[in-house]
């Protein structure tokens, strides 16, 4: 008897299985359209094809998300905070002090430093977002761009500086010239007033003292 009940159970489960896949085939006429998780209807859509034809169709990206970093170099004051806070050191900055007036950023902060190099290596980036929180002028933000894969890994080192090498060299020369002039000015001032020369004793004392521990820079996270 078990023989026949087994066969009957087999037929029943076969029918059940086939009807299940048939239902899915019939539902394949529809595609799931509610792709945005923010949509309140998102979890109610249970049926239909789930495939997303990626480059042609994209999921909407949430407003607050961590994707590719973007720097608005015109608003950047080259404070170097982002490079210091970065846990993986993916931001490379070469600052050159400006001799001339650079104007102000869009939020009114005065700009004093040229960015000869401002590279963000997205291949190293760990998407923690710390650099965007410490940025005082909010010029460094995380954009909605997430598809930045390249054939060459060096292409993932994004360069934000708008300064050419020649211009940077010129600025360096200007700075060196300015500093030289300043030194010269100082020297002439010192020559005019040769007072308060530290005694040799004092200098020796200073040398004997243990060098003070260098203050570790700690960027502060702004309170919202």
């Amino acid at each position: 008897m078990k023989y026949f009940t087994d066969i009957l159970a087999g037929i029943k489960s076969t029918r059940k299985g086939l009807s299940l896949t048939l239902v899915h085939i019939l539902q394949a006429r529809h595609r799931r359209k509610n792709n945005n998780v923010a949509n309140s209807n998102y979890f109610n859509e249970q049926n239909g094809l789930v495939t997303l034809q990626y480059p042609a169709e994209k999921l909407p990206v949430p407003d607050i998300g961590r994707y590719q970093l973007a720097n608005e170099i015109d608003d950047c004051i080259v404070c170097d905070k982002c490079a210091k806070v970065c846990p993986v050191d993916c931001i490379e900055i070469e600052p050159i002090k400006a001799v001339e007036d650079l104007g102000h950023t869009s939020d009114g902060t005065p700009k004093k430093i040229h960015a000869a190099v401002f590279n963000i290596d997205m291949a190293k980036c760990c998407f923690c977002g710390l650099c965007t929180t410490v940025c005082p002028t909010e010029c460094l933000t995380m954009s909605k761009e997430y598809d930045f894969s390249t054939f060459d890994i060096t292409d993932m080192n994004f360069k934000y500086s708008d300064m050419t090498l020649e211009v940077a060299d010129e600025k360096r020369k200007l700075l060196a010239q300015f500093q030289a002039e300043k030194e010269a000015l100082k020297a002439s001032a010192a020559a005019q007033k040769p007072a308060s020369v530290p005694s040799t004793e004092e200098t020796q004392n200073k040398e004997n003292e243990a060098p003070k521990p260098k203050m570790v820079f700690k960027p502060v996270i702004k309170k919202p």
Partner: protein, 371 residues
């Protein structure tokens, strides 16, 4: 001679076209069942995917393993395809379209299906690979076992039709009379019972199909269908090729064009059993639409034998019926998990074979009802 070449060409073209269609359907149906889209990039809706795959395979390097038995290794795919393709020559695709008009066509085709095993064993043995040999062994055990239910269910049809001539079997399921008839059967009764007094000889269509000429043949068809699934090594009976345990089974060492030939013959084998099922149970080249009074739907959609229309309609109906069966194959493949070896043998020897014997017995009694 010229006719032979013409037939070969047409049969080969039809097989290739059907295989392309089924191959595309396989991917799409699988995708839809799993809530995916399937191939979409090659051509509109990925319709060129099968051709792209073929081109890829032709470009691949032809690798023959160093420790393989090279002669047999190279022979195996050709052997398998030749065997399967030979089977097609006995199948009538239309009333006047049959490569070889042999009066024991059914016997011939069943033999050919068994011969396929030798090709699989050659491939598995000559590869000199444990997975290939395992696969080949399993394939042989499985196919030889499942010959029995196939043979018995086919015998039930032979009892109903009293002939081994496939063209005659088709004619018996039509309203037309075979000019070369060997049985002289001309009348069909509803459900094969003469006592009901309903003569459906002129209705045609689905009423004269074998599954309605003798309803017990419907069960025979189901047995035949399950058994051919196993003979074609299709899931859930794909233990000879079990991807997860044997990598690919007997064709694991094959690559490029040789693999493509294996692939082609596997699908051609499915098509062969599908066409055979269409001829034996589903009316062969006959249209499913019956004549209703003056609406001669059956005659319009089948064509009078001897005309071009009948050949085109015939090929259309035979191929669509078999491709429909193959789509059910695909449906089953993507629904059920693989059987264990002992379950496979249990199903064959303890379920299908006794049931096929009972069907054989009942169909012989049913035959008495129609005389």
């Amino acid at each position: 001679m010229a006719i032979t070449f013409l037939h070969t060409g047409i049969y080969l073209t039809l097989i290739l076209l059907s295989v392309l269609v089924v191959f595309y359907a396989e991917r799409k149906v699988a995708a839809f069942m799993q809530d995916r889209l399937g191939p979409m990039e090659t051509g509109k809706f990925g319709m060129l995917q099968a051709i792209a795959d073929l081109l890829k395979m032709i470009q691949k390097e032809d690798i023959v393993p160093e420790k393989a038995d090279k002669t047999l290794f190279k022979l195996a795919p050709i052997f398998i395809f030749a065997v399967v393709f030979t089977g097609f020559c006995a199948l009538p695709l239309a009333a006047d379209f049959q490569a070889s008009t042999i009066n024991i066509g059914l016997y011939f085709v069943i033999t050919i299906i068994s011969l396929d095993v030798i090709g699989l064993l050659i491939a598995g043995w000559s590869s000199n690979n444990k997975y290939a040999l395992f696969g080949a062994m399993r394939a042989v055990a499985q196919i030889v076992s499942y010959e029995i239910p196939v043979g018995l269910s086919v015998l039930a049809v032979v009892i109903t039709c009293q002939t081994l001539d496939l063209q005659e079997i088709c004619f018996q399921q039509s309203t037309f009379i075979n000019p070369n008839s060997s049985t002289g059967e001309t009348h069909n009764y509803l459900l094969g019972i003469k006592a009901l007094g309903v003569d459906v000889s002129q209705w045609g269509g689905i009423f004269t199909w074998n599954i309605l000429r003798s309803p017990i043949l419907f069960i025979a068809y189901i047995i035949y269908f399950i058994a051919t699934l196993a003979e074609c090594n299709r899931a859930p009976f794909d233990i000879p090729e079990a991807e997860s345990e044997l990598v690919a089974g007997y064709h694991v060492e094959y690559s490029g064009f040789r693999f493509a030939i294996f692939f082609l013959s596997e699908y051609a084998m499915m098509l062969l059993t599908g066409i055979l099922a269409a001829i034996l149970f589903l009316g062969g080249w006959n249209s499913p639409l019956p004549n209703i009074g003056s609406l001669k739907l059956y005659e319009w959609t089948t064509g009078v034998p001897g005309t071009w229309a009948s050949i085109i309609w015939g090929i259309f109906w035979t191929l669509s019926k078999s491709i429909l069966a193959l789509i059910v194959h695909i449906w089953i493949r993507w629904t059920f998990p693989r059987l264990r070896v002992d379950q496979l043998m249990y199903l064959c020897w303890k379920v299908l074979t006794p049931f096929a014997l009972v069907v054989l017995l009942v169909s012989s009694f049913w035959k008495i009802l129609s005389i």
